[in-house]
Every structure is written in structure tokens, then in C-alpha cells.
Amino acid sequence: SPLGGSGQVWIIRSGSDAGQRRVLDEATRQRRLTRQLEALEKDNFQDDPLSSLPPPGPTARLPAFKKKRRKTRGDHFKQRFRKNFTTLLEEENLSERAEPNYLSAAAPPSSLPPRLFCCVCGFPSHYTCTTCGGRYCSSRCLLTHRETRCLKWTL
């Protein structure tokens, strides 16, 4: 049981008076959520192993010249092949184009109410952290949340 099996009472030391506890506003909470979702889109969380190597010294052998590609048209050709997703999407100018298109195909928001889970253990949650809006299920998880994540950058 979250309150201790033998009937102990948990004392939550929050490190500050409850009345002076910082409360994040809705805009900040939304920004944190957006950042979390963007982080989930990353291919890698570590740096490229190649980028951490020191640059080659003056005596290093440079790689051999590669076989020339057929029919390359120089810089313009290559530049177009390096744009990122956001740029390419903007260039499609879909707001001016007829539907259906990439934007109109996005699934709409659900009509069902969202299910709420403790941000520490993942089990169903019935309570909300007053500071950051994070969900928790028990005082033990609230303690962990306050100590590790609440006002800290999550990942």
C-alpha cells in the first residue's frame, strides 16, 4: 500500500513551504509537453561517434577521390537534396492547395477522454501535482516525482 504496509504515515518533505510552492502556468506546461513529444521524434539521443573524433592532423591520409557520379548538375542539384522535412513541407504550400493532402489527412483529436497515468510508475493515476501538472498515483510516487523530475528538465 502506498501509505506503508504497517500503517506508517509518510511525511512529505518538499523542501519548501506548501504555500510558497512554485506553480507552472498553462503555457509553460504546454511547452514542456511539446518538448517531450519532440524528443520522441529523435533518431538518436547520443552524438554521432564520428563527430567526437579529433580532426585529422597534417600527416593524416585523406580518403581517395570517389568515382564521379553520372549527370550531377552541381550545387543546385545537391542543395535540393539536403532540405529537412519542415522546409519541404512548407514549400509544398498545402494551405493554398486543394484537399485532400498531407495536412488534411491528419487524424482528428479523439472524442474519448484521455486516460491518466502516473508519470513515475505508469499505473493509473488519480492525482495531479499542483506545481507542474504531472500525474501521480500515490504519495511515494509524488515524492519521487518531486525529487527527480517536477521542476527539472525531463530528459
Partner: protein
């Protein structure tokens, strides 16, 4: 004259000649902590002894092909003498693209296929259309089908009527295998062990232990129990790449329910993670994504189409893509749809034997069909007419 079928996915390339079988090969490059100078391409992954901290270089971003430098390197390897040894002037290629592919990417694709590689002819097509073709070949009496393509980048719901896709009914849910693996990495890293750098290993964990629950809240209750009563809990032994080359799930008979394991292995304890992660396909809102899940989206897509077609779609739902491999996925989808769809309409969800290669198999069939020659664009046509001929012929 040979036809090469390439289902060019954001994670796996499914590739093979139409007379042969399919090979499933990573469609990316890798770099490893141990040999930092070398970049491994596609199936050279097998040469890497220690895939810990493996760094992925993917040509796709959010499901669209944006990095041609990397894609060309992968294709050079696949088309080259170590792999498929393509004789370009004598080869036709069937290649897949994502739904609503951007016109700039389509044009780049034309240039690369015809001007750079110089294939004799090409057919650019959506993977779902190949899947639908495969389905209609096995069920010629059916008029419509609904392809659910749930892969690495996202999930698409694509309705087909008489082999033509109905664009107004296409829906995209921005939840795919990448999101599931990253979320699993995040929760394991927060709760147990730092694995944010271990995409390769945790992806394997996901494929080995995750499943789709048929009774979500009940499984949540079971997962909270202690000791042997917790039938959901599994211990996963992590690879160390010397003694243990590949991670594995400990069988329940060998699990130690109180205390530690005597052997020195690193293990992960997975309980609600096992079924909460794939749940994101059914409820993206679990993680804060404001989109419908797959069952609701299917109902929304079908609702937007003419009413007389509804029964035909609900009776012919075809699952493709890696995420449909989760145990319980098909049953759960069918059950959810059954409660959403009007009672008088039958619901039938079909899971092929190999959902990852199903579209490729459709490409193989298409290459041998009598209509094939009319569907392709010849290199000479492209050189004479430019992109416009591809725009007219291909329905992307």
C-alpha cells in the same frame, strides 16, 4: 529484362527481384562506438560485433525521404555487386513512396531513378496500393478493402475501392514504431537503467516482450501484484555482446521472484511497460498526442465515405507494417471496432502471415500482371516529357 521490387520503408527496405524472394534489410547507415571511423551501410549491420550505443543515420524524417545522400549510399550498396547486381538498362523498378508524398520529393525521385541510376522503366506507387493488390488477388470477389499500414514513422488508414485509393478517406496517425521504442527507452531510463543511447537493444526488447492487451485495466491490476501472482511481469536479460550476444526474455520457470539473480546478468523488469507501450497505437492521448487511435480513426475514415461502401470496408480490413506483429494486435483491433461499428455490419480484420512483406508480395504479383507494362514510365518517355508524364501516370 528483370523487375526489381523495392518497398522503400523508413526503417526496412523490402527488396527482391519479382522472380525471387524478398530480403528485409535496414534502410539506413550505422556508426558504432567501437569503430568510429567506419560507417556501416544497410545489412553491414551484421558485421558490427558490439551494437551498444549504435548510432542510426536514416534517410527518412517523419516518414518522408529527405536525405538523399544517405538514401543513395544505401541504394548504391543494394543495387551494387555485393547485393542485387542490378543491370539498370535492362531493369524495371517498382518503388514505394509515402502517401501524399511531396511533389519536390517525387521529382527528386524521378531524377535519381531515371537520370542517375538510369533504370529502363519505373513504377512509383504507395505501399498500401501494393498491399491492396495482393489482397484483391486472394479475394477477387471483394470490391473494397481498408489497408491499415502501421510502420516505423506513422500509421495510415487507406481505403481502396476497385484498386483505386479513396484519397478523402486517408488518415494519418503520427504514432509508429520509432515513437514506441523511444517511449520505452524513456520509461526504462527513468525507472530502471539508462538506455537512451541503446535504440538497437531496446527495439529488440520491444519486439520480444511487448504485447497488446485485450483487457487493459485488468492487466494493469495484475501488473501491480507482488511475486508469482504478477503473471504480467517478465525479466529481460540484456546482452553484453561477449557472453550474451542477444537479449532474451527469461522464461517464467527460471524467474526469481524475491531477491536477486545469482548470475551477473543485467536484467530489466518489465510489467506495465509490456502492454502500455503498444497501447499508444490505440490511444495516442495516453502520451499527450491529440489524435484518435487506430480503431477510432478507422471509423472516422469509413464514416467520411459513401454509406453503401461501409460494409465492404469493415469486412476487409488488412493489417500491414511491423506494428501489426504485436501479439494480440489483430484481436484487440477487431474487438474495439466491433464496439464502434453499427451492430448490423460485420467486422473482419485480416492479419497476413507476413505483414512486413505483404506489400512487397503485392509488388511481385503486379510485376507479373498483364497490366504492368501500361503502368510504368519508360526512361525515354521521361527524358522526352519530363516530370509531367510521371505526375499523370502515378497516383501518389
Amino acid at each position: 529484362m528483370a523487375t526489381l521490387v523495392l518497398d522503400n520503408g523508413a526503417y526496412w527496405a523490402k527488396i527482391g527481384y519479382s522472380q525471387d524472394k524478398v530480403s528485409v534489410i535496414p534502410n539506413c547507415q550505422f556508426r558504432s562506438k567501437t569503430s568510429r571511423l567506419k560507417t556501416f551501410t544497410a545489412n553491414q549491420l551484421d558485421e558490427i560485433k558490439d551494437p551498444s550505443g549504435l548510432f542510426y543515420i536514416l534517410p527518412f524524417q517523419k516518414g518522408y525521404l529527405v536525405n538523399w545522400d544517405v538514401q543513395r549510399k544505401v541504394w548504391d550498396h543494394l543495387f551494387g555487386k555485393e547485393m542485387f547486381k542490378v543491370e539498370f538498362p535492362d531493369t524495371s523498378i517498382i518503388i514505394t513512396e509515402p502517401y501524399f508524398n511531396f511533389s519536390s520529393i517525387q521529382e527528386s525521385m524521378n531524377e535519381i531513378l531515371f537520370e542517375e541510376y538510369q533504370f529502363q522503366s519505373a513504377l512509383r506507387i504507395n505501399a498500401g496500393s501494393l498491399g491492396a493488390h495482393r489482397y484483391f488477388t486472394t479475394k477477387p470477389s471483394e470490391l473494397c478493402c481498408l489497408v491499415v499500414d502501421s510502420g516505423f514513422s506513422f500509421t495510415h488508414i487507406v481505403p481502396y475501392c476497385r484498386s483505386k485509393k479513396l484519397k478523402e478517406g486517408i488518415r494519418r496517425i503520427n504514432v509508429g514504431g520509432k515513437l514506441l521504442t523511444n517511449h520505452l527507452k524513456e520509461i526504462i531510463s527513468y525507472r530502471q537503467l539508462h538506455v537512451m543511447d541503446e535504440t538497437y537493444v531496446i527495439n529488440q526488447v520491444k519486439e520480444d516482450v511487448c504485447y497488446v492487451s485485450q483487457q487493459f485495466y485488468k492487466d494493469m491490476e495484475i501488473a501491480q501484484m507482488k511475486g508469482e501472482e504478477n503473471t504480467v511481469m517478465r525479466d529481460y536479460v540484456l546482452p553484453d555482446f561477449s557472453a550474451i550476444k542477444k537479449g532474451f526474455c527469461k522464461p517464467r520457470e527460471e524467474m526469481v521472484f524475491s531477491g536477486k539473480y545469482k548470475t551477473g546478468e543485467q536484467t530489466l523488469q518489465l510489467a506495465n511497460e509490456r502492454f502500455a507501450v503498444p497501447e499508444m497505437l490505440f490511444h495516442p492521448s495516453d502520451i499527450g498526442i491529440q489524435e484518435m487511435g487506430i480503431p477510432e480513426t478507422i471509423a472516422d475514415a469509413v464514416q467520411s465515405l459513401p454509406e453503401e461502401m461501409h460494409p465492404h470496408f469493415y469486412q476487409n480490413i488488412v493489417l500491414t507494417g511491423g506494428n501489426s506483429l504485436f501479439p494480440g494486435f489483430r484481436e484487440r483491433l477487431e474487438a474495439e471496432l466491433r464496439s464502434l461499428v453499427p451492430a448490423h455490419l460485420p467486422v473482419n480484420v485480416f492479419l497476413p502471415e507476413n505483414p512486413v512483406c505483404y506489400s512487397w508480395e503485392g509488388g511481385k504479383l503486379l510485376a507479373h500482371s498483364p497490366d504492368y507494362d501500361e503502368m510504368v514510365v519508360m526512361r525515354e518517355d521521361y527524358e522526352e516529357n519530363g516530370h509531367i508524364i510521371c505526375e499523370e501516370k502515378f497516383d501518389i
